[in-house]
C-alpha cells in the first residue's frame, strides 16, 4: 500500500542483527500453484525477495509428438491436452493454422458453431480461473458455485461432441458433429441463466472488502512491462492495454458481433493489479455471453464440413497463427514440408509467457500475495510445460 523501506535493524549497541534469508519451495506439490509449478521463494520473514519459477514437471513433449504423428488431424487431441481447461480454444488455433496453410474457407455455419463453442469455452475457463482464484485467497464457496455453472457448459459440449473436457471437436475444415437438436435453445437458456449468476459472484466475492484488500494494489503489472514480457489476454487487458486479438487481429467472424473489449481500470487500486485482472475475466464472461447470443441468433443452415482432401498435405511453407484463447494469445508456428505430417509445430502458449513475468511482479510482495498473484495470472500447467 505504501512504499516504505525497512531500516536495517540494529541492536542497542549498534550491531546489526543477524538476519538470514530463507529459501522455501512452493510446489511442485502445493495447493495453490495450480498444478506442478515450483516456485523457489527467497523470503525474509513473510516478505518475498525473489521468485524463481521452475517449470517442466508436466512436460509431455507436445512438439515432439506433433512431428511423430502420421497426419495433421492426429495433432488435435494433443492440442486439447495442452490447455485442458480451454481445449476448444487450443484446437481452434491449431486448426486455423492448418486451414490457412491449406487455404480452406470453412462454411458459414461452421464459423458460427465455432464461435459459440469458443465463447462457451471461454466462459467455462474463466469460471475455473475465478473460482480457483477465490480458493487461493481463501473463499471456498464461489469456487463451487462457479463449478456448478461450468457444469452446464460442459453438458452442452457433451451433447454436441460427446466429451466433456477434451473435445477433439474442431476439425480441419469444419467440426466433427453438427449441433444436436435443441442445442440452440439450451444455449440460449444457459445465457439467460448465467447473467444473474455473475451478480451473485460479484456479491459474494468480487466486491467483498476482504477480497478487495487482498487483491487490489497487489502484483501490479504496468502496461509497458506487460507488453515487453509478451503478456496477453486478461493479463494484458488487466494492465489497461486495450488489445484483444478477436478484434485487433481479426479471425473467424468476430467482427460481425457487437461486443466490448474489457480492460482493467484500476477501480479498487492501481491499474494492473490482481483485482483488475480478476475483474477483466468476470466482465469478459458477460461479453462472451453477448457474442454467444448473437451467434445463436444469426446461425445459418448448411454443411458443417468443408471439402477437405482425405490426406491433408499442405504446401511447403510455414506460418504463425494466433488467436485469443481464454488465457491470452495462443499461437502455433507450423512448418510444413509438404508431407502428410507437420514438420515442426511450436506452440506459443499464453500461460508460458504470462508466467515469465511472475518474478518481476512478485518482488517485495508477501507470501500470501505470491499466491494471489500466481492465481491471477491464471496459468494452466499443461500449457506451460506442454
Amino acid at each position: 500500500m505504501f512504499e516504505t523501506d525497512i531500516p536495517k535493524f540494529k541492536t542497542s549497541t549498534g550491531r546489526s542483527l543477524r538476519n538470514e534469508e530463507m529459501i522455501i519451495n512452493m510446489g511442485p506439490q502445493h495447493p495453490s500453484t495450480h498444478g506442478v509449478l515450483r516456485l523457489e521463494l527467497v523470503v525474509d520473514g513473510e516478505i518475498v525477495i525473489e521468485v524463481i519459477p521452475h517449470i517442466g514437471y508436466l512436460h509431455r513433449c507436445f512438439e515432439k509428438h506433433c512431428e511423430a504423428m502420421t497426419n495433421y488431424q492426429q495433432v488435435i487431441p494433443y492440442c486439447d491436452r495442452m490447455d485442458y481447461v480451454a481445449a476448444m480454444n487450443m484446437e481452434y488455433s491449431y486448426v486455423l493454422g492448418v486451414e490457412r496453410l491449406l487455404g480452406i474457407q470453412v462454411p458459414e455455419r461452421v464459423e458460427h458453431i465455432r464461435v459459440i463453442m469458443l465463447e462457451l469455452q471461454r466462459i467455462a475457463s474463466h469460471l475455473i480461473a475465478l473460482g480457483t482464484y477465490g480458493l487461493d485467497v481463501g473463499a471456498f464457496t464461489p469456487f463451487l458455485f462457479m463449478f456448478r455453472d461450468r457444469e452446464r457448459i460442459l453438458d452442452l459440449f457433451e451433447t454436441t461432441c460427446g466429451a466433456r473436457l477434451l473435445y477433439n471437436y474442431i476439425w480441419v475444415g469444419g467440426v466433427s458433429h453438427d449441433l444436436p437438436p435443441g442445442f440452440i435453445d439450451k444455449a440460449k437458456a444457459f445465457c439467460k441463466y448465467f447473467r444473474p449468476k455473475i451478480k451473485e459472484y460479484n456479491d459474494l466475492l468480487s466486491f467483498n472488502d476482504i477480497f478487495i484488500k487482498r487483491t487490489a494494489n497487489v502484483g501490479v503489472l504496468p502496461a509497458d512491462v506487460a507488453i515487453a514480457y509478451g503478456s496477453s489476454g486478461p493479463m494484458l487487458r488487466g494492465s489497461g492495454v486495450n488489445w484483444d486479438l478477436r478484434r485487433d487481429d481479426p479471425y473467424s467472424i468476430y467482427n460481425r458481433f457487437q461486443w466490448e473489449v474489457e480492460v482493467g481500470k484500476g477501480e479498487m487500486g492501481t491499474v494492473g493489479d490482481c483485482w483488475d485482472r480478476y475483474m477483466v475475466r468476470m466482465r469478459e464472461m458477460e461479453q462472451s455471453a453477448n457474442i454467444i447470443e448473437q451467434a445463436l441468433e444469426q446461425m445459418p443452415e448448411g454443411d458443417v464440413q468443408a471439402a477437405v482432401p482425405k490426406r491433408i498435405r499442405p504446401n511447403t511453407g510455414d506460418l504463425y497463427v494466433r488467436t485469443e484463447s481464454a488465457r491470452g494469445e495462443i499461437g502455433f508456428y507450423i512448418v510444413s514440408d509438404g508431407s502428410a505430417s507437420p514438420y515442426r509445430v511450436k506452440a506459443r502458449s499464453p500461460s508460458f509467457v504470462n508466467l515469465s513475468v511472475l518474478p518481476e511482479i512478485c518482488r517485495g510482495a508477501m507470501i500470501a500475495d505470491v499466491v494471489a498473484i500466481a492465481g491471477s495470472t491464471d496459468i494452466v500447467l499443461g500449457e506451460v510445460d506442454r
Binding site: Q74, G162, L205
Partner: protein, 218 residues
C-alpha cells in the same frame, strides 16, 4: 532493498474518513456475502448421489470403445487414425476356399482378423478411429465404468478367433502360400526353361510374390 514493502501501513497517513469507510465497507460487504450463502442454504443441491443415481449420457457420449467383429474387415484404418497407437491388429489372408461371410454393410471379408487388441488404458477417447471405419464396426459406447485392479486387464481382446485357432489359420495360410510359391516357382522355372530354350532376352521372374503382411505395421 524492499522496493514495494507494504508492511508498515501508517494509519496516520490514511485520512480519518477513509478509515471509517473501510470499516463500514468491511462490515457491509461481509453481510452481503453472508446473505448470499444463507440463501443458498435453502436452495436444493445440484449434485446427485452418483452410484445410486446416474445421469443419462447424451447419445454422442464418447467412452469405451467397442468393436463389432462380425463387421470388421481388418483394414487397419482405425489403427492408422489412432494418435496414441492403442490398437494391435493382426490379419491373415484367407484361403480362396474359405468363405468368411459378408459384413452387414455388404462388403466381403477377405482377411482373418487373428488379433484385435485395444489397450483402453492408452486410449484418449478422441474418437478419431470411429470415422474412417468403412463398415462402421468400431464405435464409442456410453460405458464409462471399467476400472480394473490390473492394467493388463484393460487390454481388450476383440478377436473372435482363439489364439489356438489363430495359430492354425496362420499355419494353414503359410502352408498354402508355400504351396502357391512353390507352384509359382515351378511355373517360373518352367517358363525360364522354356525361355532359356528360346534366345529371346526375357526378364527372369524368379522371385516369389511378396507375401501379405502377416503382422501389423506397428
Amino acid at each position: 532493498m524492499y522496493p514495494r514493502c507494504r508492511i508498515l501501513v501508517d494509519a496516520l497517513n490514511v485520512p480519518m474518513r477513509e478509515y471509517f469507510r473501510n470499516i463500514y465497507r468491511g462490515i457491509w460487504t461481509v453481510l452481503i456475502g453472508m446473505k448470499v450463502t444463507f440463501m443458498h442454504l435453502f436452495t436444493p443441491a445440484v449434485t446427485i448421489q452418483y452410484p445410486d443415481v446416474k445421469l443419462k449420457l447424451p447419445e454422442r457420449a464418447r467412452n469405451r470403445l467397442y468393436v463389432n467383429m462380425d463387421d470388421c474387415i481388418g483394414c487397419f484404418q482405425c489403427d492408422m487414425a489412432c494418435p496414441v497407437d492403442c490398437f494391435k491388429i493382426e490379419t491373415v489372408k484367407s484361403l480362396p476356399t474359405e468363405d468368411l461371410g459378408m459384413t452387414s454393410t455388404g462388403q466381403k471379408k477377405r482377411l482373418w482378423v487373428t488379433q484385435f487388441d485395444i489397450d483402453i488404458a492408452k486410449c484418449c477417447y478422441c474418437g478419431l478411429c470411429v470415422y474412417p471405419c468403412p463398415t462402421e464396426c468400431i464405435k464409442m459406447t456410453d460405458v464409462y465404468e471399467f476400472s480394473e485392479f490390473d492394467r493388463h486387464n484393460l487390454i481388450y481382446n476383440y478377436a473372435t478367433v482363439t489364439p489356438a485357432e489363430a495359430a492354425e489359420i496362420k499355419a494353414r495360410t503359410a502352408e498354402y502360400e508355400k504351396e502357391q510359391a512353390a507352384k509359382k516357382a515351378a511355373a517360373a522355372q518352367a517358363a525360364a526353361a522354356a525361355k532359356a530354350a528360346q534366345p529371346a532376352p526375357a526378364p527372369p521372374s524368379g522371385n516369389p510374390p511378396p507375401s501379405p503382411p502377416a503382422q501389423s505395421p506397428s
